[in-house]
Symmetry: C2
Subunit: 485 residues, 2 copies
């Protein structure tokens, strides 16, 4: 086993060469990784199933998403626009003369990625963080999640093999399987590391940020730390279809035993017959869902502890008929009045699992107060009709201040991998709301702009040369164009 400084120094040496590979070379690398993961076939799925208790159907879907992400970044590289090329040509007659200045994005350097427990593929070893960092030319060190080490090791081998097949520099990827806490800390503190990606608990994500911020040379950390994804239920929507909305939400809350950072953990509405009807149906639906094993013993124990703690709070009513046990994930729905909720901050904490709390407000003003109190979310959702939005137009603006993704009449679970997806949000949803962990824009976390002033044309990177041989979109003297200069 190499020491942390050996590993990180090798990643820095690899970066020197890897950052100079062409986008097309890296696209081929990512595509080979996807092919290699698929070639692992059932061996990989069965290993992941054994380590995470996630059903094979779910794992098959997640593997598909993981390979889709790798190929999406490959497509981005072939298209080439991600470098955000910009050219301002010289104006020698200006006083003082305006020099020729061009700009493009450049990779930061070696990145450390921490695998997540709840997504053994899509947010782990070859997940979005790794794929986006490798895509733009950063070498990557993955600290495997201890919950699925063997799965992670299989995926790491697929990456390693792809690196060799594509003649990538040695040590462009390194897999760390040491499970102790100190290893992660040392990686984040290592001099050669330039950025960190993490998906997991608030405690873990914040600790990494603190290590990174207290370095002699602080580095950026993108920690995605979960969310309660508040849902606002408006009166006209509930009056029109309380049962339909309730059934939809029963599915969303219990999907994958609630083990998603987009799980709707807080529901709120103004007291009404329709709200009661909604909660009755939701409770019935959730009570009918069969309990199932959770990802691993630690998550199971936390769910038991946190849901039991929530149920023991003053003023809490349990609406579901299930009782949490320490062996299985049981769906739990509770309710509480808004005043009690606002006076007990522990009730707004995430209970990771198939748990949700319904907050009954006395007025729309109180509802807004409750909503604002849980600021800093991955997503927030409003269920409302045109009539509802005409009655309360201010809710839309308020929603924007709360989350990275705002849904109208939908469920937050299910994160579409596309250009317009933001999987991020104000703290504590993430440590930097200016970035997303999902979608093509996830690469922006690992890039910095560089200006090239007065470079002879033939020395410039291809993307910035006069002749636009890459056929990419470039800003030339302020105008987007694919024309050559």
């Amino acid at each position: 086993m190499s020491s942390i400084s050996e590993i990180t120094n090798k990643a820095a040496i690899a970066f020197e060469q890897y950052s100079m590979t062409t986008p097309l070379q890296r696209a081929a690398f990512l595509e080979t990784i996807a092919n290699n993961i698929e070639a692992l076939g059932d061996t990989l799925l069965e290993q992941a199933n054994k380590e995470t208790n996630l059903p094979l159907a779910r794992l098959t879907g997640e593997r598909g998403r993981t390979c889709f992400q790798l190929r999406m970044f490959a497509t981005m590289l072939k298209q080439g626009d991600y470098v955000e090329a910009s050219i301002d040509t010289a104006i020698p007659t200006k006083t003082p003369p305006k020099p020729d200045i061009r700009q493009m994005m450049h990779p930061l350097g070696p990145v450390v990625v921490f695998g997540a427990s709840n997504f053994p593929f899509a947010y782990s070893t070859a997940g979005g963080d790794t794929a986006s960092a490798l895509a733009v030319g950063c070498s990557v060190i993955v600290k495997a999640h201890p919950g699925h080490l063997a799965t992670s090791t299989l995926v790491a081998a697929a990456i390693q093999q792809a690196a060799e097949t594509n003649q990538m520099p040695a040590h462009v990827f390194h897999h760390v399987t040491t499970t102790d806490f100190e290893t992660g800390k040392s990686l984040v503190q290592a001099d050669a590391i330039t950025a960190v990606g993490f998906t997991g608990s608030r405690t873990g994500g914040r600790a990494l940020l603190d290590y990174a911020s207290s370095r002699i040379n602080p580095i950026p950390v993108f920690s995605e730390m979960g969310s309660v994804n508040p849902v606002v239920l408006l009166e006209d929507a509930l009056t029109k279809d309380a049962a339909g909305i309730a059934k939809n939400y029963a599915g969303s809350i219990t999907l994958g035993m609630g083990q998603f950072c987009t799980n709707p953990g807080i529901l709120m509405g103004v007291k009404s017959e329709a709200l009661t009807s909604f909660s009755t149906t939701l409770a019935t639906e959730m009570s009918s869902i069969a309990p199932a094993a959770m990802l691993h013993d630690g998550i199971q124990a936390s769910y038991f502890k946190n849901s039991t703690h929530a149920l023991a709070q003053k003023g809490i009513t349990c609406l579901t008929t299930n009782t949490p046990t320490s062996n299985n994930g049981f769906p739990v729905l509770t309710s509480v009045d808004a005043t009690t909720f606002l006076n007990n901050p522990s009730l707004s904490e995430e209970v990771f699992g198939p748990y949700s709390i319904l907050i009954e407000c006395s007025s729309i003003e109180q509802l807004k107060q409750v909503w604002k109190s849980v600021h800093g979310q991955i997503s927030t959702t409003i269920m409302g009709t045109d009539q509802d939005f005409a009655n309360h137009p201010e809710l839309l603006n308020l929603a924007l201040s709360i989350a990275g993704r705002v849904l109208i009449n939908g469920v937050p679970t299910g994160v579409e991998v596309c250009d317009s997806m933001v999987h991020g949000g104000p703290y504590p949803a993430t440590t930097d709301s200016r970035f997303t962990a999902v979608g093509v824009n996830a690469v922006k976390r690992w890039l910095r702009p560089i200006s090239f002033q007065n470079w002879p044309n033939h020395l410039l990177p291809l993307a910035l040369q006069n002749n636009n041989t890459l056929s990419i979109w470039r800003k030339v003297n302020g105008q987007l164009t694919k024309e050559s200069v």
Copy 2:
């Protein structure tokens, strides 16, 4: 005088309304600020001259740049592309169905800006940080630099008046003139503040980052903390024109008495006759420059202290004939051999003022070692001919790892305000190399992306509605277009 929490809470209330103003409304606001600053005429210039010792010609130029920046952001707002609109339309037939997801940039919230000492206009009260934050819809609190409080107060009144003329929300801008250290700290720690912009010393910029990182909810800080802007002098270039390069650099090092964060403070070359000829001419030129008063007593005292400290180091030779005094800024050029330089880290510290150190290397390998040792710069420059680059092609890649702006055959002073300018760089040049303080992209520091999932068309912001009435560039299903959906 209001308390910090009153000021910041008012900025948060102002943000709620200001973030909903249209880009055109904010463009008019910025243009009025520029007009109002110009309308202050000589009163403003004379006040700044009195407080900073900067000559009127320089101040006139800086005022021009400041107003140019305000109008540049107004143009950006009228063009409207800065929101980076992206639309992925629904595919209901997909399994699972793909929802309609759209994305655009949204302002972070109230921003605190710290004025710089060396640019009373362009990096101060209505400077780039304030202009870029106001442009995108953030309310702004400026902590005036104590070195030019009266100047800052005049500019603040111009902003205030423009806010009233354009019926902007009360408290969209607030000017804090308290000069104590605690005020700045409290502003950065205030709950309502969402981001910080700073230009100044490394100690100051780092302190603000540390305050921001240790908040319950950490916020981003963009501190621009100066640089030594290393210059690499290659042999063939020197052989061809040592005197010309030396004269050019004498001007750059002493421009504005060296009080720029882009001042070339470190020069390096491989020992040769041409390098000696260069250093002789440079020393003669610099010795002939008349000493002049520096910005304020504190800077004067620091320059005297730091240049004296540098001169007292073992192995240092002073090449200029001036001797530093405590009353005036005297241009100073020193030289040292590379081994001594590498063994004495204090020699790579910035001496803010008309000071530069020439490092004589025994080989190009040693030069690379010296260059790497001063990693984290606003700019770096290579003076070289085609022959030089053919001999040492690896230097270009190395340059990219060092700075935010890389020049070939130029001087780093003079920061062109344009799309392609990066005024940033790896730590300690700034606290986040992923952003720039100058140019249109400076707005990115104050924006975060938001996804709008499944919104009815009429409730969406104009930029994301099907009909592209704003005629902005949008990514629609992955393709850049100005067409409607």
